[in-house]
């Protein structure tokens, strides 16, 4: 009989895998975003049996609540252009890269499992303190031992905000002509590419 913990694990794992496959294989980005949401939820769920309650909450709030929402905003802003027509250019490079990746990943998985099993460690561990993985312990560690990375990541977020503002702005004075030139060239190239393969929706 399968225990509750195992069932819970396999359920969350299944959801995660399905979600990631949706992300990878969907044609429309909205569907991919939904798949991403599934993955996030599943991983958050998997954090709970690992005694990472605070982290699960953070994952949910930040990832699902902010990142996915931002993605959805952008996708909806792009509109139908978010679904480009597909073609077979550069297939070789992509397939090569992907296959090398998968092969080496499988190999690494096999190796790591072999190594891990040799170390004879398993769950559950001896009892740990109740505050393990909770917000108290997190706060204590973040603001005493790891305060430096905390401040640095705060600075990083500030830089990211400034960068986003700079990059995502509208037309910058003076670069209008350059932008227009580039845009015209790109449009012509896109038109030629479209004609080459025939328009397909």
């Amino acid at each position: 009989m399968i225990s509750l913990a195992e069932a819970y694990f396999f359920l969350c794992a299944f959801v995660a895998v399905v979600g990631s496959l949706t992300v990878v294989a969907s044609r429309g980005p909205i569907r991919s975003a939904m798949g991403l949401f599934l993955v996030i939820v599943a991983v958050a769920g998997l954090f709970l049996p690992l005694h990472a309650q605070f982290l699960a909450a953070i994952q949910f709030i930040v990832y699902a609540g902010a990142v996915v929402v931002l993605l959805l905003f952008i996708i909806m802003m792009l509109g139908p252009d978010a679904i480009p027509a597909s073609d077979r250019r550069g297939l070789f490079a992509r397939v090569l890269g992907a296959s090398v990746f998968i092969i080496s990943g499988t190999f690494a998985l096999a190796l790591s499992n072999h190594a891990l099993s040799a170390l004879h460690s398993s769950f559950p561990q001896p009892k740990m303190e109740a505050s393990f993985g909770g917000i108290d312990s997190f706060g204590m560690i973040l603001f005493t031992d790891d305060v430096v990375p905390l401040e640095l990541s705060a600075a990083l977020l500030l830089v990211a905000v400034v960068g986003v503002l700079a990059v995502a702005q509208g037309h910058v004075n003076g670069s209008g002509k350059v932008l227009a030139d580039l845009r015209a060239t790109a449009r012509r190239a896109a038109l030629r590419a479209d004609e080459a393969r025939g328009r397909s929706t």
């Binding site: 195992e6 694990f9 794992a13 990631s20 496959l21 992300v23 990878v24 980005p29 991919s32 991403l36 993955v39 998997l46 690992l50 990472a52 605070f54 982290l55 953070i58 990832y63 990142v67 931002l70 993605l71 802003m77 252009d81 978010a82 679904i83 480009p84 250019r89 550069g90 992509r94 992907a98 990746f101 998968i102 990943g105 499992n113 891990l116 460690s121 398993s122 769950f123 561990q125 303190e129 505050s131 393990f132 997190f138 204590m140 560690i141 031992d145 990541s153 990083l156 977020l157 830089v159 990211a160 960068g163 986003v164 990059v167 995502a168 932008l179 580039l182 845009r183 790109a186 896109a190």
Partner: protein, 111 residues
Amino acid sequence: MISVEHYVALSSILFMIGGLGFLVRRNVLVALMSIEVMLNACNLAFVAFNRARISPVSASAYGGASHAGQIFAFFVIAVEAAEVAVGLAIVLAFYRLCSTVRSDDANHLKN
């Protein structure tokens, strides 16, 4: 029993799927989302190893077990959020420039 190998295996599978998506898909938005998946897989691995107590107990002001993996995953989430924001800003600028979100068309640095 669910042991750390299960979590590692799941993390690997998710990572591989995410990597596959990044390398194969040409829609930059989907590529970005695949990166998210990969990062989530990493976070899962971190937290699993932290729970498995592979590393010894560290002496800290907290005085308890080591939370290193969880702290790391925390920062990964923070940095990754920033990365998504900037990445989407770049995608937006690229879209305004070339009216496309296909990565193949981002070859202005060719040769």
